[in-house]
Symmetry: C2
DNA sequence: AAGTGGTCTAGACCACCAT
DNA sequence: TGGTGGTCTAGACCACTTA
């Protein structure tokens, strides 16, 4: 029901029938009456909208629509903390997306053994691809999935299936019976080497965004490792940043 | 009380007395008994720990410690979605942090008028600074705060006070009576121009992480604009990425 | 089948903001 | 001072995992 309430609030915000001229939304008590649910359920829905940045809640004052966000609800994209397939990211944001699979193979884990929590000699399925936005190559991806996760009957065809699946998510869901629960990423700036420059059709030395990440299933088993390079001049990530919850004991300070 | 429960759980995880050998935490029902609070309160605490990535909850199975995170609880830092003063970021992560104020001034808003929601001719207080980690310059920051936010009695000394405060957060709290509620950031990769290269003691053309952001108070008033450049070879940001909440109505697809 | 987390309820009180 | 969001309670039922 919280989900239903959320959707109704969003569409009411979109068509302008929810918020007053100052952007204020009806109180939680009123909403719970209007939708015929408990106040707790309304709060659950509003909390999710708050995390997404669509509304801002002010203790004692009310809940307000965030005009910076409501401009394109339902198509929030390229937020760095959202784990979306980069292909969908491109598709949702602007142009046509295309993918070219550069290479698929089964190779030993080697340097990735640590982060994938397998032996260095264990085989991993590898896929290298190039993503295009409006025919321009903008992202180069190299992905690795431990072969031991692939359904036993499909192990022989793993490399080809990875290529056919096109994304980590789909490959893991279809052929490993796993979903990605979260991924831990690291973002940095690097310059294009000869190989990347050739693929991304940019100058050697051009600035690139590098996103390196490990995906985990809900049981905390690492399910993929990926290194992605983005044309620095064409791709940006957005992120809402907030004061963090203090996990440290304040007494300790 | 949720806060108290959270702290107790964290320290129990730290000293190893909370989780079993498989990392599982006692059930919510048991925790609520143990701490003498309702289950809802325990869930509130666990939810915060889940957002921070310290634990993972699995419907039907239990709640587990995330070993990737619990290694340094209480000092989680350099997470991109956490709005921390960059100086504290350096300090908390490794070395001694130092700051050199390069320039303070009051200038017209001009190009920043749009994102700060003031007139182009309105004055803004500007501060440019350089942050050092172990004597190496690693971050260049340029910040702007609308002068109209500064307490009237301090307007004349605004530029100097901004320099003395050293961070946006402190300046806004001390002299504008405002706290930053959230900030919207954009991260990209650029190459160092002559000016930045000189400040950051790197090659012209070296890859830099560029973080551009607008800070907002809880009433959604923009309170600062900042452009920050990070030495790409020395600074990385980490981020937990998760599947996003669908805000779009699924019927629409 | 037993145990877990996920959701919802109805009510209460508090902390905060505005007027 | 009245209305708002923030927190907590006690209980119920459901959905899911695991053995």
């Amino acid at each position: 029901m919280a989900r239903q309430v959320l959707l109704e609030i969003v569409s009411a915000i979109e068509n302008g029938s929810m918020a007053g001229s100052d952007g204020q939304i009806p109180s939680e008590a009123e909403l719970s009456q209007r939708f015929g649910v408990s106040r707790g359920t309304v709060r659950e829905a509003l909390s999710q909208l708050e995390v997404a940045g669509l509304v801002v809640r002010r203790h004692g004052a009310g809940t307000y629509v965030n005009p910076k966000m409501s401009s394109r609800p339902g198509s929030i994209h390229a937020w760095f903390d959202e784990a979306t397939a980069f292909m969908d990211m491109i598709r949702h944001s602007n142009h046509e997306a295309a993918v070219r699979i550069l290479r698929t193979a089964v190779v030993p884990a080697e340097d990735l053994a640590g982060c994938l929590e397998v032996e260095a000699s264990s085989p991993v399925v590898h896929m290298e691809k190039l993503l295009f936005s409006a025919s321009i190559p903008i992202i180069h991806c190299a992905n690795y999935v431990p072969l031991c996760l692939v359904e036993p009957s499909l192990v022989d065809r793993a490399a080809d299936l990875f290529g056919a699946a096109e994304t980590n998510y789909r490959f893991l869901e279809r052929h490993c019976n796993r979903t990605v629960h979260h991924q831990q990423s690291e973002i940095s700036a690097v310059e294009a080497d000869e190989v990347l420059a050739a693929f991304l059709e940019c100058r050697v030395g051009a600035p690139l965004l590098r996103v390196e990440e490990v995906g985990y299933a809900s049981d905390l088993v690492p399910v993929f490792y990926g290194v992605n390079h983005f044309r620095g001049d064409l791709v940006k990530f957005r992120q809402l940043r907030r004061p963090s919850i203090d996990i440290a004991d304040p007494k300790a300070e």
